[in-house]
């Protein structure tokens, strides 16, 4: 499970004088298999929260405890290099996560459908192709919990359908933390919601109620 306790995050402004508190006293826990929605307007602190839960950034105060494997934010480049080919990037991810390259390559090839572009440098990819590669890379490593930051909407409708199928149906038993502006997705797949506003947050067990509060913000 994931246990988040009294999480706070400050950023210093460029001049170093002012401190911006981006998250303040966020607490929640996530059981295996549970799906939590993050609802909040732009700038509410959703992405920061996801980065802290993933462990990419460290909290100013409070703690994040993980007893299951947690993904890096799904669809984020995570250092996908532009001069590297698709295959180089797969190899890198396979190496740092200790997974067999061949299996990962097969999965990415099948899912992202980049064909012969996998042996071309990523900087020659279109935005959509890049998004598909990033998305496929994060799904190719088997995690207990996936962190998703409004990424469901990448690619053309066909790719969107396949990503949703891959995430919500094939990985139905995995945990998810999903930041999304799309009420239908939240209603359909999430069992609880954390409504965030100006760095503060409250967990609701009633997703419909959470959505109506979010829409009234």
């Amino acid at each position: 499970m994931i246990q988040v306790r009294d999480l706070c995050k400050d950023y210093y402004s460029e001049t170093g004088k002012r401190v911006n508190r981006v998250l303040s006293n966020i607490s929640f826990s996530l059981m295996p298999g549970e799906k939590l929605a993050l609802l909040g307007r732009n700038g509410a602190g959703k992405s920061t929260l996801i980065r802290l839960v993933s462990g990419a950034e460290l909290p100013t105060e409070g703690s994040v405890e993980r007893t299951m494997s947690v993904s890096w934010p799904v669809g984020l480049s995570g250092g996908v290099g532009g001069t590297m080919t698709g295959n180089d990037n797969i190899r890198f991810i396979a190496r740092i996560y200790g997974r067999p390259f061949r299996e990962m390559r097969e999965y990415v090839e099948d899912f992202a459908q980049l064909g012969k572009f996998l042996s071309e440098p990523v900087r020659t990819y279109s935005t959509g192709m890049r998004a598909r590669l990033n998305f496929a890379l994060s799904l190719a490593v088997d995690f207990d919990c996936y962190l998703i930051d409004e990424i469901i909407m990448v690619g053309d409708p066909r790719f969107q359908r396949r990503s949703q199928e891959e995430l919500f149906e094939r990985r139905a038993r995995r945990s998810l933390i999903l930041a999304s502006h799309v009420p239908q997705i939240v209603k359909e797949y999430c069992s609880r919601a954390l409504v965030m506003h100006r760095g503060r947050g409250k967990v609701f067990d009633d997703v419909d109620l959470a959505i109506s509060i979010y829409e009234g913000l």
Partner: protein, 264 residues
């Protein structure tokens, strides 16, 4: 027992991650075209050859009884190691911060991967350049191989220490980058590029050896090359002690540098 097993488990992960970052760096910096990663040890040579050629032309063939080409080669190669390793280090963590999205990748791994590869490449170019110049007859075989080798290895360690301090400190304050520029240039005067310890007055030599680690490295390289043609002043236990202290300070700074590296 269990703590020990966990420690070795972590060590295995770290080795894997550092290896992956090195492989990644090979591809991102040199790609697969033409020479590819052979540039790793050819690049330093492009600097080294003209400099050594010009220097040995404008100066007398012997300086203080030492052959000029050898004196410049033993001076310039350690300088290149230092320049290249430290030159990469300013704000190098920020540049690669996207990799920190993977939890098992630490700032120390980024440092060991990139700067470690740079140090290895430069050491390889020491070997390559030696043979290239030896073949044309401008260098003799070294008198004491192990001593010269240790001199270069200690130079690499010293460069990595300073690189680690720069990498960690430049993320904390912009001042570091500004201050480093002049120091980086002045380095050629106090590193031992131009001088042997034996040319210094006794008092100055004692002070220099007490506070200037690269002087020991230079003395080992040159003592190893020239053998009895000179008197080499170095103290390996003392140098090891100084570099261990610097390494520990560097590791300590690296440990919480993460608070200062913001992700994009």
């Amino acid at each position: 027992m269990r703590a020990l097993a966990a420690f070795f488990g972590d060590l295995r992960v770290q080795r894997r991650v550092v290896g992956a970052i090195m492989m990644r760096d090979l591809v991102t910096r040199w790609g697969r075209r033409n020479l590819g990663f052979a540039w790793l040890f050819c690049e330093p040579l492009i600097f080294a050859f003209p400099v050594i050629a010009v220097w040995s032309y404008v100066r007398a063939p012997f300086e203080h009884g030492l052959p000029m080409v050898a004196f410049v080669w033993t001076g310039y190669m350690p300088l290149l190691i230092f320049r290249h390793v430290t030159g990469l280090s300013l704000l190098s963590l920020r540049a690669n911060s996207a990799l920190l999205y993977h939890r098992q990748v630490t700032p120390l791994d980024l440092f060991l991967g990139r700067q470690g590869l740079e140090a290895l490449g430069n050491l390889a170019s020491v070997v390559v350049s030696f043979f290239a110049i030896y073949v044309i007859g401008a260098l003799d075989l070294p008198y004491n191989y192990p001593l010269m080798l240790f001199g270069f290895l200690y130079t690499a360690w010293w460069s990595l220490c300073i690189g680690m301090l720069l990498a960690a400190l430049s993320e904390r304050s912009e001042l570091v980058a500004h201050i480093w520029q002049p120091i980086g240039y002045l380095y050629i005067f106090f590193s031992g590029f131009f001088v042997l310890a034996e040319w210094l007055p006794t008092k100055l030599r004692v002070i220099a050896l007490a506070i200037d680690p690269p002087l020991h490295c230079y003395e080992m390289v040159r003592g190893g090359y020239f053998g009895p043609q000179m008197h080499a002043y170095y103290n390996i236990p003392y140098l090891t002690f100084l570099l261990t202290v610097l390494t520990l300070i560097g590791l300590w700074l690296m440990r919480d540098v993460r608070h200062h590296v913001e992700l994009e």
